[in-house]
């Protein structure tokens, strides 16, 4: 079982080479093969792309289509939600009907994080529900992220473990990640 390792890990120094190696090691311990977005891959369209960024896109898409499952690092990234590229890839693999799992190293739920982000712009409407300063509502379901994220993982039979890890260690602590790997290994077994 080849597992696409989605996450903002690719933005870590050296394109996340250290975390990529550690995630692949954990996958191998459980009998799985981890595939990191930056792994080399021969793809004619990607190789022919005139622009570097589009070559990266096409290679990532080829990696996704060639993998059997996905684990997404959904730790909030520069705002209340997970990294946009990671969420795109999660939806992509769910649409293909393949197992998807996710984890987050932030303990607060999505509504709490959104309220913290809005600060004193948050207000309550006439019905007592939270909105932002422009009157747009918040999702108050006690979920990890937008309901499409939590829902896609549930619909796929996946796990979505959450751990509170403070500071920069939230980018390197892999306990919740390993719970996802164990879940996939069990699906496979």
């Amino acid at each position: 079982m080849k597992v696409y390792l989605a996450g903002p890990d690719v933005f870590l120094p050296e394109h996340g080479a250290a975390i990529a190696a550690e995630k692949k090691r954990i996958c191998a311990l459980h009998g799985l093969e981890g595939v990191f977005p930056t792994d080399p891959r021969h793809d004619p369209a990607a190789d022919a792309a005139a622009e570097a960024w589009y070559g990266i896109y096409l290679r990532n898409e080829a990696h996704l289509r060639a993998c059997d499952a996905l684990i997404a690092n959904l730790t909030p990234f520069r705002g209340p939600s997970a990294d946009a590229g990671t969420v795109y890839e999660l939806g992509f693999m769910r649409a293909l009907g393949r197992p998807v799992m996710g984890y987050s190293n932030a303990g607060r739920d999505f509504a709490q994080r959104t309220l913290a982000f809005l600060g004193n712009h948050a207000r309550r409407d006439a019905a007592g529900r939270w909105t932002d300063g422009e009157g747009m509502s918040l999702e108050e379901f006690g979920l990890v992220d937008n309901l499409m994220v939590d829902g896609g993982i549930r619909a796929a039979g996946g796990r979505l473990p959450v751990r509170e890890v403070t500071g920069e260690a939230r980018w390197t602590d892999l306990a919740a990640f390993e719970a996802c790997v164990a879940g996939l290994a069990r699906l496979k077994g």
Copy 2:
């Protein structure tokens, strides 16, 4: 051609009923049928969901699978990137091989918005590239959002028009949206 109308529009007052009606009107002018996420839909699994949020997820997924194309409102939402649910749906429809388009009513590119979000936490590394306060890199490709978003639309042959619309009007101005609708009508024709 049924077009799924993805976007944070669902968070506008009354669940975006006014913008839903206007988007559907524009679709109809171009011979297309707009489908809004909150549109009623009989779906046995969604009807049986014990939790409201999961019923919403399942109904949205059923809408997506029943649509022929998607237009995503990618105007940045509570952070430098588009709404997470919208990005999930974009990846979902791209994986199914259906046409996807997007639009944004924010003129600044993704790197500029991320730098504004980071404020004085942004710094340059030894090679002169921007990172955040934790040393994680930025995408500096001059794109609308994370390269997976722009790349998915390009790979699908879609359009990604951008217009600078200031203030709350950015949630209601539909000129860029209509450019997407016209693009889909042309694909269909």
